[in-house]
């Protein structure tokens, strides 16, 4: 068998069975990426519904009950269905290629962790059509409100369980691969930063996904078996759910941003033609952020009325996170400084990431201050803040990574002109959508409302126009990807002049089996 692999023959069934039975990290990476793209468009269309309803004051398209389903499912599906699987897709494709391994350490488990996802996705999508409609208690699933919902609540809980199991298996696979399958000479401190950030993210996932599973299980038993974990009448505490949820939820936001840091730290040096500034401090900053992320959870719940000592502790800890995050931004700037930059689409999205993620970081510091947060909690300011870190943060990094590696994955160059259109329309549409939301929040507009007072009308209309523009722009990306798969200029082994990681030593497209013989690392 080994000999056959060495000669690069592809041994796999064809057609649909290839994808169902595959244990190949590249196939599984591709599956993850397509899955997340489909979910991205589905959850994105829910957001279009939200912005359509909020275009003008009054109820135009949807009744309030359905509006709540839209916001809830938009959040849940974007987080668990679009952003997280996209990063796992990158991990599957790139980690073995970047550390010189022939595949992931546990290929059969890899297949299983992907194929759980469509099951969960079907549960979530179908829940729109069951009696009572989809879950409408917010993606945070706070009881007692979430307990009131119909059967879709149980479907959502089951979906979250399945997604959690998938994430845990994926993480075990990544950690095992990084620990055991690095090519000889690839020491930990020589690993590309993308591998490092995923390695740390995988630990975070293993630490917090079981906590979420516990929280939703308690919800389930509260719903059906009268356990009263979160019901004060039975001796429980509804706020306890929030503590458990955010003990998962805050590390979760870093789960969605650390791999993005990794992609941007790979792309910027390549297009600045200059090594990454402060590699070691980047690794330490990533680890510090991961550790700090586990002691700041209660800043999501300053308005529940904690004692002053608890509020102050969580305020100081949250402000502290700004320090390693600042180090990262400064390192990216220092990498660009005195470089010889070119601005292909991956670089544009990476620079967009640095500029706009930093803005989201600034508003994060504003929100860390307890008194100011008391005013802004549950307003559109918070909505603006987390979309700056999740859309212009995580999503832009995903686009940067996709454009950067598409030539390696498909063997063709993508259309640069269309890529640039995609970038500029996204940046403009994104800012028109979310920048005015800061003002809405400051002026006092609560989030998750289907209708609003008249003084909020102007900025909401602007925001909706930006939203439609941003949404429509994403179809360009779909077009570029399909076009790139079907043909285009041939990509050489290394289409990017400044790229220096191992995948660029391989032919494009990367052969089905790679690094059967480990590469030599100097």
């Amino acid at each position: 068998m080994e000999a056959v692999h060495e000669h690069g023959h592809d041994h796999h069934p064809s057609g649909i069975m290839r994808w169902i039975t595959t244990t190949n990290h590249k196939d599984i990476g591709t599956l993850y990426l397509w899955f997340s793209l489909i979910m991205f468009f589905f959850a994105g269309s829910l957001a279009m519904g939200i912005r359509a309803e909020l275009f003008q004051p009054g109820l135009q398209f949807f009744q309030p009950a359905f509006f709540n389903q839209l916001t809830t499912m938009h959040g849940l599906i974007m987080v668990f269905g679009a952003i997280m699987p996209a990063f796992v897709g990158f991990a599957n494709w790139q980690i073995p290629l970047m550390i010189g391994a022939p595949d992931m350490a546990l290929p059969r488990m890899n297949n299983w962790s992907f194929w759980l996802l469509p099951v969960a996705a079907i549960l979530l999508v179908v829940s729109f059509f069951v009696p009572g409609g989809a879950a409408a208690g917010g993606w945070t699933m706070y009881p007692p409100l979430f307990i009131q919902g119909g059967i879709s609540g149980d479907m959502t809980i089951l979906a979250v369980h399945i997604l959690g199991i998938s994430s845990i298996m994926g993480s075990i696979n990544i950690i095992t691969t990084v620990m055991n399958m690095r090519a000889p000479g690839m020491t930990m401190m020589k690993m590309p930063l993308f591998v490092w950030t995923w390695f740390i993210t995988a630990y975070l996932l293993i630490a917090v996904m079981p906590v979420l599973a516990g929280a939703v299980t308690m919800l389930l038993t509260d719903r059906h078996f009268d356990t009263h974990f979160f019901n004060a009448a039975g001796g429980g505490d509804p706020v306890m759910f929030q503590h458990i949820f955010w003990f998962f939820g805050h590390p979760e936001v870093y789960i969605m941003i650390l791999p993005a840091f990794g992609i941007v730290s790979t792309v910027i040096p390549a297009f600045a033609r200059k090594p990454l500034f402060g590699y070691a401090s980047m690794v330490y900053a990533t680890a510090s952020i991961a550790i700090l992320s586990m002691i700041v959870w209660a800043h999501h719940m300053f308005s529940v009325g904690m004692p002053a000592a608890a509020q102050l502790f969580f305020m100081y800890a949250t402000m502290l996170i700004a320090v390693p995050t600042g180090v990262k931004v400064f390192n990216w700037l220092a990498t660009m400084w005195q470089g010889s930059m070119t601005f292909e689409t991956p670089m544009l999205f990476s620079i967009g990431f640095v500029a706009l993620f930093t803005l989201g970081g600034f508003t994060g510091v504003v929100l860390a201050m307890v008194p100011v947060d008391i005013q802004l909690q549950d307003t559109y300011y918070v909505v603006a803040h987390f979309h700056y870190v999740l859309v212009s943060g995580s999503l832009f990094a995903i686009f940067a990574g996709a454009y950067y590696w598409l030539p390696k994955w498909t063997g063709h160059m993508y259309n640069e002109t269309l890529g640039k259109w995609h970038f500029w329309l996204s940046v403009i549409g994104f800012n028109i959508t979310f920048f005015p939301q800061h003002f809405l929040g400051l002026a006092g507009m609560p989030r998750r409302i289907p209708d609003y007072a008249l003084q909020f009308a102007d900025f909401n209309m602007i925001s909706s126009i930006g939203g439609f523009m941003f949404g429509a722009t994403q179809l360009i990306f779909l077009f570029v990807v399909i076009k790139c798969i079907r043909g285009g200029a041939k990509a050489g082994n290394k289409p990017w002049e400044g790229a220096d990681t191992l995948e660029w030593t391989l032919p494009s497209p990367a052969p089905y089996h790679t690094f059967a013989t480990p590469p030599v690392i100097k």
Binding site: G58, L59, Q60, Q63, P64, A65, G137, Y142, P144, L145, Q148, N231, A232, D237, P238, K274, L276, F277, G278, Y279, A280, S281, M301, S303, G305, P307, M315, Y316, M319, V323, G326, V327, F330, M336, W337, Q338, S340, M341, T342, I351, T358, L359, F362, V365, M369, V370, V372, I374, Q375, Q377, D378, F439, L442, A443, P446, D451, A453, Q455, F468, A472
Partner: protein
């Protein structure tokens, strides 16, 4: 096609800009503070924003300088440095010091916000799906406060009023210059009591009481909304606080006490079917129609229809139980805690004799009173 799209978006933008000028109401900051705490929050935010503007100028300045000058197209050659311990220590330390500078005033405000001691008046505020109850326990009266914007305005069948969605039937009333302590809780799910101009937001948690305080400087009307997602009508439970001079407040308290006394006098009164039906209809519109709908048709399957319902047309004891104690696991609250005996008797009488329901039964408040023992 692309240019067409851009034209459309451009047109929309121009329209939005125009409407912005026409309204000339685009608040970009906190509303004018009405309390000392809100003022402190306002200035904390202002200071933080200026610090951010300073840092942003440095960061974006360096970034755009680099983008302009250090590009291949202008022939810039890449340097090869990749670390500098001194610089890294500096840009770790400076942000740390700035943050300490920001944390100090924030800490002082946090401690001031928590000090609910030595209050003049205590009011208990309870969140219900989807209205607020204000209980002036010292003076022995309480009342419900719900949205007063007419349904037609929501559905855009009538022009929207000035305080669209921010107006209530019975506002909370407080005197100016007095420290008001609010005890905040909820009856069903978590709500949040929030009035931006008072600098106060506190989650209302069922089964727990949290306290908070405010002291308003000037008479006026201050408007806020529920800030925690609490179900389908989360957007429709505003908060209105009227602050008045002590003398006017005393007058208001006297009126409220008189009202409470007269309603307790009426408590034992026996009514005719027609009277009860018309009283019950009002109670129904204010408390029940949000879910069970105006004609009792409900919204299947979450909110059951009352028109033709087995419970409403069956033995009355079953309906008493569900109205008084609610139904666990659903949005049906225990109205026994919210409404008077007369109101409950009236609304049950109404539902048993409205639409297609024709039981002909009359429920008197004494029957409800008996249930409470």
């Amino acid at each position: 096609m692309m240019s067409n799209l851009i034209k459309k978006i451009g047109g929309g933008l121009a329209l939005a800009m125009f409407s912005m000028l026409a309204h000339a109401e685009y608040a970009i900051n906190f509303p004018t503070p009405a309390t000392e705490i809100a003022r402190q929050i306002y200035s904390l935010h202002t200071i933080t924003m200026w610090i951010i503007v300073g840092i942003a100028l440095v960061v974006y300045g360096a970034m755009f300088y680099s983008i302009l000058k250090h590009r291949k197209s202008v022939g810039h050659k890449a340097a090869n440095f990749h670390h500098n311990t001194m610089v890294e220590v500096i840009w770790t330390t400076i942000p740390f010091l700035i943050l300490i500078g920001m944390a100090y005033p924030a800490t002082k405000t946090v401690i001031a916000m928590k000090d609910t001691s030595a209050s003049d008046i205590t009011v208990k505020v309870t969140g219900y799906q989807w209205k607020w109850e204000y209980d002036y326990q010292q003076d022995g009266f309480k009342f419900m406060s719900s949205l007063s914007t007419p349904r037609d305005q929501l559905d855009s069948k009538a022009p929207k009023g000035e305080h669209y969605l921010l107006e209530v039937d019975n506002p909370m009333v407080v005197p100016v210059g007095k420290k008001i302590r609010v005890l905040i809780t909820a009856n069903d799910v978590i709500h949040a009591w929030w009035v931006p101009e008072l600098g106060l937001k506190q989650d209302a948690i069922p089964g727990f009481i949290r306290d908070d305080w405010f002291k308003i400087d000037k008479p006026g009307t201050y408007r806020g909304q529920c800030a925690e997602l609490c179900g389908k009508d989360h957007g429709y439970m505003p908060i209105v606080v009227e602050a008045m001079e002590q003398a006017d407040y005393d007058k208001w308290v006297a009126e409220q006490k008189a009202k409470a006394a007269s309603s307790s006098q009426d408590a034992g009164k026996v009514y005719e079917l027609a009277e009860l039906k018309s009283m019950g209809e009002k109670v129904y519109v204010a408390n029940c129609a949000g879910c069970h709908q105006a004609k009792g048709e409900g919204m299947a399957p979450v909110f059951p229809a009352l028109d033709g319902s087995k419970i409403v047309n069956g033995p009355k004891q079953a309906q008493f139980a569900i109205v008084m104690d609610g139904k666990e696991g659903t949005a049906m609250p225990a109205f026994g805690k919210q409404l008077s005996d007369t109101d409950i008797a009236a609304v049950i009488t109404f539902t048993r004799n409205a639409w297609g329901n024709k039981t002909g039964e009359v429920i008197q408040s004494s029957e409800i009173k008996a249930l409470r023992k």
